[in-house]
């Protein structure tokens, strides 16, 4: 792997941060251009990282940077990109440029505005690439404050109310996350915990290297060890190693040395032949074949006594804040309690609360319509397209993999919440008279698909949830930009204050209809693949004894209401006779508006027509998550 590309996530986080400083220093005339330049540079880095990560295969972390900052806490500057974050990175790149472009006309304190926007981006970007829980939390909080100020200063009439509401909601969640952040390391003993690792995870994610084996009798461990002791698969040439050769074995996973339970008939001297091509990982390109079974890993020598299939893998997980390490600790969370409550349950619900506010899950969503209505157009775009995604991203990155047992137990509830969100928020959107509020509720409704897909616990569902995140990012950004275009001309957003806009603004009407159809999941446009996969995933789900399946069938009704509220809005605003004579003379889109909307239109079309590249990037990460959950369900 290229060493330079390892710096990509670092730049992805640092560029906006530096950009904020640059904007503060830039001459007043150059503030916007500087902001655009920084956004473009970030987008370039993001695009490069996303494409490279996608090419390398998204199952494992790429471009890892791990600099210990406070070793005593296990806190380190740890960034990395896998298929899941790659998709988000690409979305960030696009949306951030468009957010800057669509703020071009901000006249009130532009320097402060753009500097805060950059800080907001830095926080968002940090969340999407951080692999350290504390770093994740820092990014999470970092974006909160700029967002608050952006709404509270540059917002509409009732901006303070909306901004305070936004901050209070998010803070309640953040507080829960902070609690969990302290709880988790506190419940790990100082010497670490010895846990079993899913052999499948070892096969797909462990580093492999030329090895020697050392046997450790049970007495070598302070932990109770199964069997006759453990084999430490040691790297001959240093550790970890990326040099792949014959006769190699899995050496370490997430930087932790792997231990193999000693098989009775095993003699360490014997050489094991492994087919590395198969061991390396299940080629996603060769997906149609059956994944190689474990027996194939056992080698081709008949005298081979190390039967990996019969082996168990263990790692000694230290006390730190590495998110990947925390994932391995799931059996420990289930066994440990805090104040009589299992840490798994407590931690899961804390993180769930933090992320659910952001998604937003139904019941915790009422900050969203206020924030959207009050925020300026560009901030609405960022809020809907990126910030809401952080919630689901948190589910996928932390809540589900770190607390799989609690997540599986909560699955039916999550599915119910998702289905309710799909139908209820759509129904509420039907009768909204404020265009932004309507789009805000459509966001709540669309994010419900992510929850449902996640609760399905299969690859189609999880992939669909992530695809839905990306496509909703594109679709909601377009819808908010469309509202912004109208608002700039009318200075109000009341649906009943418009009529027949298609006559003076035909191109704009076409793009608005396009955005609505994309949002209503018309096949061929971006909204469709995500929803389709979620439906397929939910209906074929084996989770929760078919409850998710029924919810999947019920949620199909969402397509009706979604089409109804969006196209009814289109009808009232754009079609019919012109109802307000002054609107007959409105100019069609300006060049800057074209520049904002056309890239999104093209991307929406591209993802809708050819979603495979996106799915290719996501599937391995989704597979990893789902395999983890299945293994947990089977072994818990």
């Amino acid at each position: 792997m290229l060493t330079t590309s390892a710096a990509l996530p670092v730049w992805f986080v640092l560029l906006p941060l530096l950009g904020a400083g640059l904007i503060v220093l830039a001459p007043a005339m150059r503030v916007r251009v500087t902001a655009l330049g920084v956004a473009l540079a970030t987008a370039l880095v993001a695009g490069l990282a996303a494409v490279l990560a996608g090419i390398h295969g998204g199952h494992a972390m790429q471009f890892e940077t791990n600099i210990p900052l406070i070793p005593a806490w296990g806190f380190s500057f740890h960034l990395g990109v896998d298929g899941l974050s790659a998709a988000m990175l690409a979305l960030c790149g696009v949306i951030e440029v468009i957010a800057v472009l669509s703020s071009w006309k901000v006249d009130k304190r532009p320097r402060a505005y753009f500097a805060l926007l950059m800080l907001l981006f830095a926080g968002t970007n940090a969340v999407f690439v951080s692999l350290d829980l504390l770093l994740f939390y820092v990014g999470w909080e970092l974006m909160l404050i700029p967002m608050y100020i952006l709404i509270a200063v540059w917002g509409g009439d009732q901006r303070r109310y909306a901004a305070v509401k936004y901050v209070l909601f998010t803070l309640v969640g953040s507080l829960a996350m902070l609690f969990a952040l302290i709880l988790l390391p506190a419940s790990v003993p100082e010497e670490g915990v010895l846990v079993e690792v899913d052999p499948d995870r070892v096969m797909t994610e462990a580093h492999i290297g030329p090895t020697s084996l050392e046997w450790y009798p049970p007495s070598a461990f302070s932990h109770p060890v199964v069997g006759n002791g453990l084999l430490w698969v040691k790297n001959k040439t240093g550790f970890p190693s990326m040099n792949l050769k014959r006769n190699d074995l899995p050496v370490d996973i997430y930087g932790l040395p792997l231990l193999i339970e000693r098989n009775r008939s095993f003699t360490p001297v014997q050489v094991v032949h492994l087919k590395l091509e198969e061991l390396k990982f299940r080629g996603r390109k060769k997906f149609g074949d059956h994944p190689p079974s474990m027996s194939q890993f056992a080698g081709d020598s008949k005298n081979d006594n190390l039967d990996l299939k019969a082996s168990k893998f263990f790692v000694l997980v230290p006390r730190d804040l590495n998110i990947q390490h925390l994932q391995l600790l799931w059996p420990h969370w289930a066994k440990t309690t805090f104040l009589g409550v299992s840490v798994a349950v407590l931690g899961f619900w804390c993180f769930l609360l933090a992320f659910a506010v952001k998604v937003p899950v139904i019941g915790l969503h009422t900050w969203l319509p206020h924030a959207h209505v009050q925020a300026p157009t560009a901030i609405s775009v960022v809020l809907a397209a990126l910030l809401l995604k952080l919630g689901v991203y948190g589910f996928l990155r932390i809540a589900w993999p770190v607390f799989p047992t609690a997540a599986l137990d909560a699955g039916p509830l999550i599915a119910v919440l998702g289905t309710v969100a799909i139908l209820y928020a759509a129904w509420v959107a039907l009768m909204q008279n404020d265009l932004k509020r309507l789009v805000a509720y459509s966001s709540v409704s669309h994010m419900g698909f992510c929850l449902l897909g996640l609760a399905a616990v299969n690859v189609a569902g999880a992939t669909g949830a992530v695809v839905q995140m990306v496509t909703h990012g594109l679709g909601s950004a377009m819808l908010f930009l469309v509202v912004g275009v109208i608002y700039e001309r009318a200075h109000h957003r009341r649906v009943d204050g418009f009529g027949g806009l298609a006559k003076p603004m035909p191109v704009f009407a076409g793009i608005a209809l396009f955005a609505c159809l994309a949002s209503a999941a018309l096949p061929g446009l971006a909204g469709f693949p995500g929803e389709l996969l979620v439906f397929l995933g939910a209906v074929s789900s084996t989770a929760a004894n078919g409850k998710v399946q029924i919810l999947g069938l019920v949620s199909c009704l969402g397509v009706i209401i979604t089409a109804a509220y969006l196209l009814w809005m289109v009808k009232r605003v754009f079609f019919g006779p012109i109802r307000h004579p002054e609107q007959a003379a409105w100019p069609d889109l300006t060049r800057r508006e074209y520049a904002c909307l056309v890239p999104l239109v093209l991307l929406t079309l591209a993802v809708g027509v050819w979603p495979q590249p996106l799915i290719d990037s996501i599937t391995p990460a989704a597979e990893t998550l789902v395999r983890h959950l299945h293994w947990v369900a089977a072994t818990r």
Binding site: T366, L430, P523, V539, W568, G576
Partner: protein, 731 residues
């Protein structure tokens, strides 16, 4: 030749995209270009069809399929494992699809040629060409689709094409506010909600009502995919594309649905559920009861567009889909299909009898005929209904397209008037139109020698046969389709004859409306004549004797196909069909004769004698009640508007919205809120509740505030109190 179907698919899309961007700059919006490309597509379709049909029984063209999506799976051997699967886009052409392809491209060509005359001079003329080309692309996609998902994808896209063309004149107000419409509207159009009828409303209604069906469709797709994938998972085979026709039918044949269960259903019952889910899509698209009300409204679009979209092909896509998935429809599901079709056929026929709007008659007639097709398909393979339904799909496409084009000629000739009460006596002025429409009417009546005699009678026969077969198992319910369809056939003869007599023979009420009427351009006339030839029975049977319908070539290719691939072991029950055939044919001929004569008496003969029988029936009590019911469209529009739009849509939507964020008053108060008006923020809503909770947290703070009031007395009292408490505690 596997590239040819793809080229036929891609060409209209390319035209649509090109004309979308450059159409306005081209001469006449690029109409010649679009028409020329469509002519090439038609020629290509003929080649493809010849290739498919020449291959004899059951030949299919399977074009290259493209992998559209690859979804990973879990094949870890655990019970919950699902193999990964792919979703593809591909070409599947059997005789059914090949003939349909020819009909779609051929009719599209005819409509394009015709539209150059019909819409010339319209301001939006260029828009028609790209939206219509887009529709053609989508429709061809539905026809050649190789799997269920691709069908759904193009299914939605034809919906978009229909949406765009219904809203062609998007700027028109609701007809209640349209003086033009009010001046020309048909009398007694009492069932229409005039405040909710405009191109913009109609396109919304069409899209949303189609989506109601599509919700069931996609649920059916998901159920089917699950069954097939799970079946592959259990047997350890790679799932491939679980939605490809062959994969579905193979899995169904091997009992894929017997191994899964949901909601306590499994096996045949679950298969029925999945089949009916998919059928929901057809109910929406083919405007079947109870989702039929969008189609009459869709007549707001240009008539020539309606000719192919809302009459000949797009609405028939539902029937086409049912024919496609026929092997996975269980007997239970087929009975539901037949019953829905029969109810629709009769319901729409009754409404058509009292319509005075020319296009409304045709719209209800379309709904009714689509019902007939579903009766045919629902009667199953053994009764010959499967073939009959498909045959009627083809014959109907031609004659209904012709009827609409003739209607377009009449409307154009009468300056937009389409009320049967005003228009009349056009036979002399528009001889070609009158002739062509006459042929089409004879065809839909099922007069021997014309196309529906071959197809519609076969449907009635099949319904009878299937009814007798099914009555052992289902009792009287199995006979419902046959009875209702026969009644509907009788009504069809009356209302279609009425339409023709009224338009071309009976005198016009307003003579100035028809003063300048004339036949269309020669090219358009040619289209009418060519389509009229397609209404002849001989085209479909290749036999001179109209009564020798056995062994018709169409029947032959479809039958060979249906036995070859689909229901294995199902034999067509020739004896029963023969047995029923004679009776049905004589009945049908009687219907036609009586219908023509009755309509002539009522609308031509008696008015000449000064007796307006129709008007008298309308006002005389027992019949006037029937009239009121029918002309108000069985009150369905009112009921739907009340239940779905007012109560479920607006009412519940408003309640939920107010319960969520608050009443408009609360929101207004929030907008205007200043420090003085804070109390207005709370209310009985989720958001108000949360605000209230937040406010409750300020109470301890306020209590604390009192302690820091700055008044010396407070502090002294506090100090004394604290000292007192401490000293008490120390005691």
């Amino acid at each position: 030749m596997s590239w040819l179907p793809l080229a036929i698919l891609a060409a209209p899309l390319a035209v649509a995209v090109f004309l979308l961007f450059f159409g306005r700059r081209l001469h006449h919006g690029g109409d010649g270009f679009a028409t020329g490309v469509m002519a090439l597509c038609f020629a290509g379709s003929l080649v493809v069809a010849a290739d498919v049909l020449a291959g004899g029984a059951g030949r299919e063209i399977l074009g290259h399929s493209v992998t559209w999506m690859t979804i990973g799976g879990m094949n870890d051997g655990s019970s919950g494992s699902l193999p990964g699967f792919v979703l593809t886009l591909g070409v599947y052409l059997d005789p059914l699809a090949a003939i349909m392809l020819c009909i779609v491209t051929g009719l599209a060509l005819a409509v394009m040629v015709y539209t150059r005359w019909y819409l010339h001079g319209d301001n939006l003329y260029p828009r028609f060409w790209w939206s219509f080309s887009f529709f053609c692309f989508a429709m061809i996609g539905v026809v050649i689709s190789s799997n269920l998902l691709m069908s759904f994808v193009f299914w939605e896209l034809v919906g978009l094409g229909s949406y765009l063309l219904i809203g062609f004149w998007y700027f028109k107000p609701a007809v209640a506010d349209d003086p033009h419409y009010q001046a020309m509207k048909a009398s007694y159009a009492t069932g229409i909600l005039e405040s909710k009828l405009s191109p913009a409303d109609a396109q919304l209604k069409a899209f949303v009502m189609n989506r109601i069906g599509d919700a069931g469709f996609i649920a059916g797709i998901a159920l089917t995919a699950w069954a097939v994938i799970a079946w592959h998972g259990k047997h350890g085979t790679p799932a491939g594309d679980p939605l490809a026709w062959s994969a579905i039918f193979k899995a169904v044949e091997h009992g894929a649905f017997n191994e899964i269960s949901l909601l306590g259903l499994s096996g045949t019952n679950l298969l029925t559920l999945a089949g009916l889910g998919i059928f929901c899509g057809a109910v929406g698209k083919s405007a079947q009861f109870p989702l039929h009300t969008w189609l009459p409204d869709a007549m707001q679009g240009p008539t020539t567009g309606s000719a192919i979209i809302h009459a000949a092909t797009m609405v028939a896509a539902g029937v086409f889909l049912v024919a496609r998935v026929h092997p996975m429809l269980t007997p239970d599901a087929l009975l539901v299909v037949a019953c829905i079709g029969a109810v629709t056929a009769l319901l729409a026929a009754t409404m058509a009898c009292v319509q005075w709007d020319l296009k409304a008659v045709l719209a209800y007639s379309t709904i009714s005929q689509l019902g007939f097709m579903l009766v045919g398909l629902g009667s199953g393979v053994a009764s010959g209904g499967y073939n009959a339904g498909i045959a009627h799909l083809f014959t109907h496409a031609i004659f209904k397209c012709l009827l609409f084009l003739c209607a377009a000629a009449v409307i154009h000739a009468c300056h937009g008037h389409q009320s049967l009460t005003r228009v009349g006596g056009l036979g002399r002025k528009m001889p070609v139109t009158a002739f062509a429409m006459g042929v089409a009417v004879l065809a839909i009546l099922g007069v021997p020698g014309f196309s529906a005699f071959f197809s519609k009678d076969a449907i009635l026969v099949a319904a009878q046969v299937a009814g007798h077969h099914g009555s052992e198992h289902y009792g009287w319910v199995a006979l419902v389709p046959a009875v209702l369809a026969t009644l509907a056939a009788a009504l069809t003869c009356y209302y279609m004859a009425r339409l023709w007599w009224r338009l071309f023979v009976a005198p016009a009420a307003d003579s100035h409306v028809v003063d300048h009427a004339h036949d269309p351009w020669p090219s358009a006339k040619l289209v009418l004549i060519v389509l009229a030839l397609g209404c002849l029975q001989a085209v479909w049977t290749l036999q001179a004797n109209p009564f020798a319908v056995e062994g018709a070539w169409l029947d032959h290719v479809i039958r060979a196909k249906s036995v070859g691939l689909y229901a294995s072991g199902v034999e067509v029950d020739h004896d029963a069909i023969h047995h029923a055939h004679g009776g049905v044919v004589s009945l049908a001929i009687t219907f036609a004769a009586v219908g023509i004569a009755l309509a002539w008496t009522v609308f031509v003969l008696l008015p000449r004698r000064g007796l307006n029988l129709a008007e008298r029936c309308r006002t005389t009590p027992p019949l006037s009640w029937v009239w009121a019911l029918l002309s108000r469209l069985w009150f369905l529009e009112y009921v739907y508007d009340f239940v779905f739009v007012r109560i479920l849509g607006k009412g519940l939507g408003r309640t939920l919205a107010e319960g969520d964020l608050g009443t408009p008053q609360r929101l207004a108060a929030l907008d205007a809120a200043t420090a003085t008006k804070k109390t207005a923020r709370f209310g009985y809503s989720l958001d108000g509740l949360i605000d209230g909770v937040a406010k409750a947290f300020t109470l301890p703070g306020r209590a604390g505030n009192l302690l820091h009031s700055g008044r010396i007395g407070t502090y002294v009292a506090l100090a004394i109190g604290v000292v007192a408490v401490i000293s008490l505690l120390r005691l």
